[in-house]
Structures are given as structure tokens and as C-alpha cells.
Symmetry: C2
Subunit: 248 residues, 2 copies
């Protein structure tokens, strides 16, 4: 039974048995890490690429002013920093938003993996998509109003979780983000995030309680915040089916 990481790479390239075997062996080393701990820290020398097998994490940049900007979410199966060992120092940190399982992959193991053309292709695609997400986030913060910012992010997470089989048939999924975290992500104050969430709730576009989010009418949410999933490149190999290949 493949883990989240293998499932993710399969979306980008066909992996033969040997490749899958190698990936599974690698990920068997997974170690549990507690919520709130940092996987890597801004200013430090990067030692290894890391894989997130379960749990949520975020990349963030801290400013001298004390403010911080979250510049990415890492969901189960996501890759922390491909090739990052080439750089001298990290320009951002990665922190865990929930308890998680993580595998550290040394530069040598990374090179080993990339001998497989299919794995290399999949990893490269994955980083291209990460970059595309970053561009979309910049667009969101630069151009969209507060309501659309919140809604747009919700749509993105819905699509991304759906792609790894973590949305149930009632369009419900885990959503462990605090309003504070949302604020640091979207360039808004937590107070204002709160008001926008309220409006989305009042308009029956989301249902949120106890860190569980449900989209009663995904199409309407997508429409009202102008969400276009093209940037996620989900149809990279095959078009995403409405349901999930292996339900969670």
C-alpha cells in the first residue's frame, strides 16, 4: 500500500516497481515530530531534503519587525526542499502545524533517487507546481480582496487534499489552520480573517467547526472567489476523477 509521497509522485510520472520499492524503503524510516517544532530554520545551513508523510507544515519567513509571512503549506506527501543542499543558508523556516511523520533524505540519497529518470521527472514536476502555487499566492495577496483571499486558499487546499484522497464524499476535510495562521498567510489580521470566515459561513459557502471544513457547494465557492485550478497542474498525467481512487 503506497504512502502519500508515492501517491503524489505517481501523479507526475509512471513509476516502475523498482522505483516504488526504493521510495517505500526510503519512507519506512519516517520519524514522528511534534506540532510546533521546526524542521529547518531560517539562517541555518540546509542538511537534507525532507519528506512529509503525514501532518501539515508551513514554510515561513520571519522579519526583523516581528511579523512573519507564511509562504507555503506542506500537506501529506509533500517534499520540503529538493536540491536545497546546494544553497549555503536557508532563507526561510519550516514549522509543523500539526503532529507529523517526517523522513530526512541526505544529499547522497537524493542523487541516488534521481538516477531513476521517472523519479527525477516526478520530483521536478513537483517543484514546478510548488513554484506555480507561490506565484498564485503572490497574485492572491497582491490583487484579491480579503474575502476572495480566504476563499481562494480554501479552494486550493480542497483541490490539493482531494488529489491525495483526503477529502471525503461529503466534501469534508481536516483544516487545522488557526485564524492567526491564515492571517500570516494572506496578509490580513486575524480579526479580519475572522470576519471573512463569518461572511463565507453566512453565505453558506463553508461550514467550519472543530478544525473540520466542509464545502456545501464547491462550485459556488470556486465561482465567487474566481478560483481557477489550472496552476495546480492536476491534469499533469490524467484528468482528476470526481471521486478518489482509494478512499481515505
Amino acid at each position: 500500500m503506497p504512502n502519500a509521497f508515492v501517491r503524489k509522485l505517481r501523479r507526475f510520472a509512471d513509476l516502475d516497481d523498482e522505483a516504488v520499492g526504493r521510495l517505500v524503503r526510503l519512507t519506512s524510516r519516517a520519524e514522528p515530530r511534534g506540532r510546533g517544532s521546526d524542521l529547518v530554520r531560517q539562517g541555518e545551513r540546509p542538511l537534507a531534503m525532507q519528506l512529509l508523510l503525514s501532518g501539515w507544515a508551513c514554510r515561513y519567513k520571519s522579519l526583523a519587525s516581528g511579523r512573519r509571512q507564511i509562504v507555503g503549506f506542506l500537506l501529506p506527501g509533500d517534499i520540503c526542499d529538493l536540491h536545497v543542499t546546494l544553497l549555503r543558508r536557508m532563507d526561510h523556516s519550516i514549522g509543523l502545524l500539526t503532529d507529523a511523520c517526517v523522513v530526512a533524505v541526505t544529499a547522497a540519497e537524493e542523487q541516488e533517487l534521481e538516477r531513476h529518470a521517472s523519479i527525477r521527472t516526478a520530483l521536478t514536476c513537483s517543484t514546478l507546481v510548488d513554484e506555480a502555487i507561490l506565484r498564485e499566492w503572490l497574485t492572491t495577496v497582491g490583487q484579491r480582496g480579503a474575502l476572495a483571499r480566504v476563499g481562494h486558499l480554501v479552494c486550493e487546499i480542497w483541490y490539493r487534499l482531494k488529489a491525495v484522497g483526503q477529502v471525503d464524499e461529503r466534501e469534508r476535510f481536516a483544516f487545522p489552520l488557526t485564524q492567526d495562521v491564515l492571517g500570516d498567510t494572506l496578509g490580513l489580521t486575524p480579526v479580519h480573517v475572522n470576519r471573512m470566515l463569518r461572511r463565507l459561513r453566512d453565505e453558506r459557502l463553508i461550514e467550519l467547526e472543530r478544525k473540520q471544513l466542509r464545502l456545501p457547494d464547491p462550485a459556488r465557492l470556486v465561482a465567487t472567489c474566481g478560483f481557477d485550478p489550472a496552476y495546480l497542474h492536476l491534469d499533469q498525467k490524467r484528468r482528476l476523477t470526481s471521486g478518489m481512487s482509494s478512499a481515505g
Copy 2:
């Protein structure tokens, strides 16, 4: 005499004569393109990686609302889209801000280039830095005030141009960006950009006329907008010297 592209890659890895020869041969095909034309367009299938040998370009995303967000500037020597042919469709466009010289590199030629370990390393570093810049921009738009946004961008461009020898000894450099373009980059209206430029001028932090920008006191500008060049990873191979190796 190496071109801007070779000079840029040299910052990331030692290139032997054969590698340089290959790069020079490739870039000899450069073609002139007029200001305002698009190198690639959002929604189209990507056909080739492109190299910008001279001139300025920008990546931008267009929204259904008619607004647009600029998500990156390409300066002389910059690489448009490494590996992008792996994706089905472009999620953004690239447009020329000035007249320019451009080389298109097919996927096959790209693979050919990457047989050289040193070239591959340099290209990878380059994309890592591009991603780092994107994260910093998101931080700028998300967390900084309007004045610091403008100042921060000016600092970044100063550093980047300095690294490719396009800043003269009086800290003067070409700055072909209109206030409209700055607005679309920083998430501000052109009117507000104008006011911020005025304040920077009034405080003697910049001198700007006829598309020429000068920093009378770079250190003070860097300080007042909280700029930290770490994210540009300029010390990747060797520390940047105060002057330029080959003055332009």
C-alpha cells in the same frame, strides 16, 4: 568575452572550457524582440526554455477581473523557464518590458546541456534563487507597508544588477519600470506608487529621472526598508566584491 548568461551561471558553479563553449554557441542564436511582445502566453503549451541575453522582461498573471499581478522580473542573463516543457500549460505569461535579445532552447538541447554536471548545478541553483525571490516578494506584499515595498524592490534590483555588472561606480543603473508596472508588482495603485517614490526622493534615498535610478546612499535605503540580501544567495560561490569584475 562571456555574455550575461554565462556570467550568471559562473556565479553558481565552475564551468570548464567545454561547458562555456557550449553555452556560447547556444547563445549565438540570439534574436531581437520588440518591447511589449510576449515570449510565452498564459494557457499555451510551453515549447521551449528561453534565455534573456539583454533587456528586461516580466512574468505576469492575468485575472478574469482584468487585474494583473507581476510575479517576477527577468534581467539580462536570466532563464525563463527551466524544465517548463514538462508541464501541459503555462500558468502565466512573460512579456518584454524593453527591447531585448532572446534565445529559445528546445527541450532536447536543454537535456543536452544538463549532461554537464556543472551546468546542471548552476541551472538548478538559479531556479532555487528564483523561488527564493518569489517567497520574498510574497513577504513584501503580505507584510510590508507601501514605502518599504517600493524601497525593497529597488534594493533587490540594485543587488541583482550589481551582480551582473550593470550598476556603475556612482550606483546608477537603468530602471525601465513605469509606475504602472511597479503597481502591478507590489499590489499598489500607480497613484500610490507615485507618492511613495516622491517620499523616497524627498528623503534623498533615490534619484530617479529618465529611467535612470541612482542610490545616493544605498546603506540608508537598505536600512530604512529592512532589506536583507540573504535570499538572493549572492555569496553562493564567492562573496560579492564591492566593485565589478568587468565594468560595463
